[in-house]
Symmetry: C2
Subunit: 350 residues, 2 copies
């Protein structure tokens, strides 16, 4: 199967996302890249779950890591077979999919697919050792199909960017950053990008800006208090972000900060397009739980404490942007109104 990561920045090459090989899953440590280029080497699926919980990778990374983690779980199970193996792999699936609370439903879909692969092979009386490679292939197909899907999303999004337009983003929309830029360049559209740094982990500054820079884009970083001013002063044409969840009633759950930028964009009459797929697992926004993380991370910036002993902190990882602030949900099947996401599932090709 042809690889879909061609021409992408370093971060987006498969081997630098999450990769099973020779009994380990290797994950690029996105918490420190590009200051340092280091990998976390996981020798058990539990270590993969821990790496996901510890945010070694984020955005689309954890899904691939979880799928690769299933191959690793089979490697651990060695000669196990039959019901015993199925139970072991189901437990591994649970551990991997529940590493982070907000993304559970999408994670479950992916690891359940891997469990199905296990069951198919168990029926043929194969043992765990023989199922490692089919699971690795499952994980590879997962990421490769994702990239193909996001290639379509990138194309639909590129069609919404004016010639030599300026795009504002925050956090790291992952593959879509790569496919969007690749498509704009194919269309000879010399875009500019402005990335909000995205505290506390600086994904916008470290990841998005680095990928854009790798791919030859004129890219500037701003701090998270600047989008509202800069989008007007530097004449931003489009604000775009990915989403961790898009509920069927049109709410966007994404890295905290998205709501504020979308609100400022609406104020300045700049369109906001979210990329992703509506989630049938969330009929309404009410079923989404917003995760609070370790507050110490907010009181730290690249390893230095930023406030005094005795001060506390809050760290909500995500926020919620209502449909009225979103001008379109850009999917692999085209652009939909956030008020009619059911249409996505009635579209040809689905």
């Amino acid at each position: 199967m042809q690889r879909a990561d061609e021409g992408m920045g370093f971060l987006l090459q498969y081997e630098n996302v999450a990769w099973y090989e020779d009994g380990v899953v290797r994950i690029l440590d996105r918490r420190i890249y590009p200051i340092k280029t280091e990998y976390v080497i996981c020798k058990t699926h539990g270590e993969v779950a821990q790496a996901i919980a510890d945010m070694v990778t984020q955005s689309g990374g954890p899904y691939t890591a979880a799928a690769m983690g299933m191959a690793l779980a089979a490697h651990e199970a060695k000669e196990m077979a039959g019901d015993e193996l199925v139970i072991y792999m189901e437990k591994a699936a649970y551990t991997l999919s529940h590493a982070r609370p907000t993304t559970v439903s999408k994670m479950v879909q992916i690891v359940d697919g891997a469990v199905e692969v296990v069951k198919d092979h168990v029926k043929k009386d194969e043992c765990a050792r023989e199922i490692v490679e089919p699971l690795r292939e499952y994980a590879f197909h997962y990421i490769n199909n994702n990239y193909r899907k996001y290639e379509k999303v990138g194309k639909y999004l590129a069609d919404l960017i004016p010639q030599e337009g300026t795009i504002m983003t925050q956090c790291f929309a992952e593959t879509i950053i790569g496919t969007l830029i690749r498509e704009c360049h194919r269309q000879s559209n010399d875009i500019k990008m402005i990335c909000a740094e995205t505290r506390p982990y600086f994904q916008g500054a470290r990841l998005t800006a680095s990928v854009a820079c790798d791919m030859g884009v004129d890219v500037a970083v701003i701090t998270d208090n600047m989008p509202g001013f800069i989008m007007k002063d530097k004449q931003v044409d489009v604000f775009t972000s990915a989403a961790d969840v898009i509920s069927m009633d049109g709410y966007v759950v994404n890295k905290v900060g998205t709501f504020q930028i979308a609100l400022a964009a609406a104020y300045h009459n700049i369109p906001y397009f979210v990329t992703g797929t509506p989630s049938p697992a969330h009929e309404t926004i009410d079923s989404v739980k917003i995760e609070y993380r370790d507050p110490n991370l907010v009181m730290d910036a690249m390893g230095t404490k930023v406030t005094k002993e005795g001060v506390k902190a809050y760290y909500p990882a995500f926020d919620i942007t209502p449909p009225k602030l979103c001008n379109g949900v850009v999917t692999d099947l085209g652009v939909f109104s956030p008020y009619q996401l059911g249409a996505y599932f009635q579209t040809e090709g689905k």
Copy 2:
């Protein structure tokens, strides 16, 4: 004259703002406090201007530093007298007041007052050496009168905070943080505070949160992408900020980020009160120039670079919040509508 800094946090004690003594101006380095408690020692008024330009102190700090810098300039001038001295001091006044572009008009007022002191004493045939102490007193009265004025502002603002209310702020509203908390405690109002960290210098995390903590307030820090979510989730009652300029047509120029928070506050029906004094030097917002600073500061967090070589950055120091997002201008003479700031100058006591 009785000192008005009683009961204030460490940062707000006069000796820790900017202080002339024995031929030097000592300025607490707010860029690194509370990680380190260090002072920049300025031996010339040029060094004071440089310290202001370098953001050693900010918010109200530069005004006191400029006034103290005038005493230092007289100390430098030694035996100079007459026209020569006046010209020397006028040059010093220009250097100090123009250290930062956005605050020029207010700076000019303060240093011009010092030049008047010089002229009065020159008329009495006094030489520079004899004018150092009157200039130091002028600077002391400037900061002390400011604190008295801000005590009134703090009282008017405290009256707008519900019992056990939660206040959101960003950057460092300086003396008002101290007088507000002092007044709330006098009223037995056990307030909570939430401070946006305020990148790139973290004034919210380092300064505001530290002062609140010193004064016994339950205070939490958030990153600058979180106010929009947190103000709803943690039931914030009031957003308040200081201002670098409030133009007569009701626009607030303040540390970048204010606009975004005010916009989110309006969205969530939370009032935004700005503290300060309307500026007759700015009849409309059109006369305010928003300063862009060194972009390298945005690409750095507490001494660590946050992005890749080849990425650029923007650093607008301030933004502009329109009057429709502001529910009141809290002054030493009461609370005014941003749409009728002329009333401030017709109020008794002015």
